[in-house]
Assembly symmetry: C3
Homo-oligomer: 205 residues x 3
């Protein structure tokens, strides 16, 4: 697992940027901004680590991740308000964080001994990718976007996790599998938002 730490660092940076921009919209003080960015960056991976009994948790083992989030939170608190237009770029760091964390989650789940079932690995990849945002939404008392208006959010992670898991199973290199999965998640998510693509609702409703 050589490329995974690189991907994880990038995932933390992307998620923290997303978290800081999101928190700034909510009129929080610096402690609140850090708390939101922390939960968005580490919530999903913490659930995965607890579920797989991986200790120390990934952000305790790599405490420079926490310093990254702290630094970006301080930086974010100093962004002048006329840069609010940055808001519309929220989508990009969110999609990058989603894609990268989904890959690390799936990779860690596949690396357990004994290995977990493929479906379980995919689910833990989706949890890693999506639950930071879900937890932040819950704490900010919003309907988690996973269950609301977000086009193909969990679905993008679900498809990408299968891509990664199957390519690794078929003996692709981790780098190529991760690249293919990243493109898959990012493209599905961005295209879904751009053209407002959705899955049909369950019909009972």
């Amino acid at each position: 697992v050589d490329i995974i730490p690189v991907i994880e660092t990038a995932a933390v940076i992307a998620s923290a940027i997303y978290g800081v921009l999101l928190a700034a919209r909510k009129n929080l003080d610096i402690v609140g901004v850090f708390a939101v960015a922390f939960i968005i960056s580490f919530g999903g991976g913490t659930l995965r680590d607890l579920a797989l009994d991986r200790h120390p948790l990934f952000w305790i083992a790599n405490h420079h991740y926490v310093w990254i989030v702290l630094g970006l939170s301080l930086l974010g608190a100093m962004i002048p308000s006329h840069l609010q237009k940055l808001e519309k770029y929220l989508l990009v760091p969110d999609a990058v964080g989603l894609a990268l964390f989904t890959i690390t989650g799936t990779a860690y789940a596949l690396a357990t001994d004994p290995p977990v079932n493929l479906l379980i690995a995919v689910i833990l990849g989706v949890v890693t990718g999506t639950f930071g945002g879900v937890l932040a939404d819950i704490i900010c008392n919003e309907i988690p976007s996973l269950f609301r208006e977000a086009p193909l959010y969990a679905t993008a992670a679900f498809v990408g996790a299968w891509v990664y898991a199957l390519l690794v199973l078929w003996a692709w290199s981790e780098e190529l599998a991760a690249g293919a999965a990243f493109v898959t998640v990012f493209a599905i998510r961005i295209a879904a938002v751009r053209w407002n693509i959705r899955l049909p609702n369950a019909r009972l409703g």
Copy 2:
């Protein structure tokens, strides 16, 4: 612990049916339906397993449970909408899942080595029975029914968990203890909804 896997399988099926019917009312797509059914079926037991340090988690160790929930979610997405009247039967799978998961939670807690205190076992039984629904409510941004209009929901689980724990302590067979606990939880819950029975409020309010 021979009958417990049978009870657990039935609990997963009942909870997944409840989750799928509930999710269908909320106009979610298939991924959302699966997510809600997954959380309702596995949320409480996951908390219990984490609290007791039981690994792998029950749904990772028994991954056919996940396939059951996935299958029922796909099936649920194909129910035609004129069967909405099914809704009024939501109560029954919910009460069955509550009763069965409360039993498995109490049984696993009593089976730890060294054994936990009886009150702790009962609380973990209640957590196992109720927290799937609580988490799903939180994620769907509803006031958890545990804390709202639900007559004797946690209370039914609490009484049933004591019934199971005490009968096992008094050397009844697991089968009989489970049967008695099931009838207790199911009857209290159904009767409470039918005749709108509640405990008095705390008076300070």
Copy 3:
């Protein structure tokens, strides 16, 4: 770690009193009161124990804590309603619980082997002090006060955790470090509410 059990017991009592008074305002029945008091008293420490892989959880290892919360819940349900004026004293047990749990959380995190990074210990102290209340707010469907109107709630815990961690690092006795940290958290929190002191908002909003 000799004084920590004493501090922890006091923290449980203060948090349970706060939880019972809070729950009484919400018109819950006795089971609901116990559930809210339980989550407020044990939620933060449970997250810390899971994050640090400390088992059995502190309230499973010390099951008399659960009996304390149960007893106070029963007592609370019998408070006559003309004592509602007690409400304005909610602030004090909340601040005491915040201060004491922050100290125990930081102390347990510093006592791990190998020791966690100082920033991680401080964060786990803050989580221990604040997340019981955050979880109770989420379950009662309120915006967690951590992210709303609460002046310097997490901030008080954050400063106090640094005070404790640094004083212990500088070889002060645990008793003196805990005393200094308690005064710090309690004073910041009470002063912030009394004079409505806040940190400036992040400017992007």
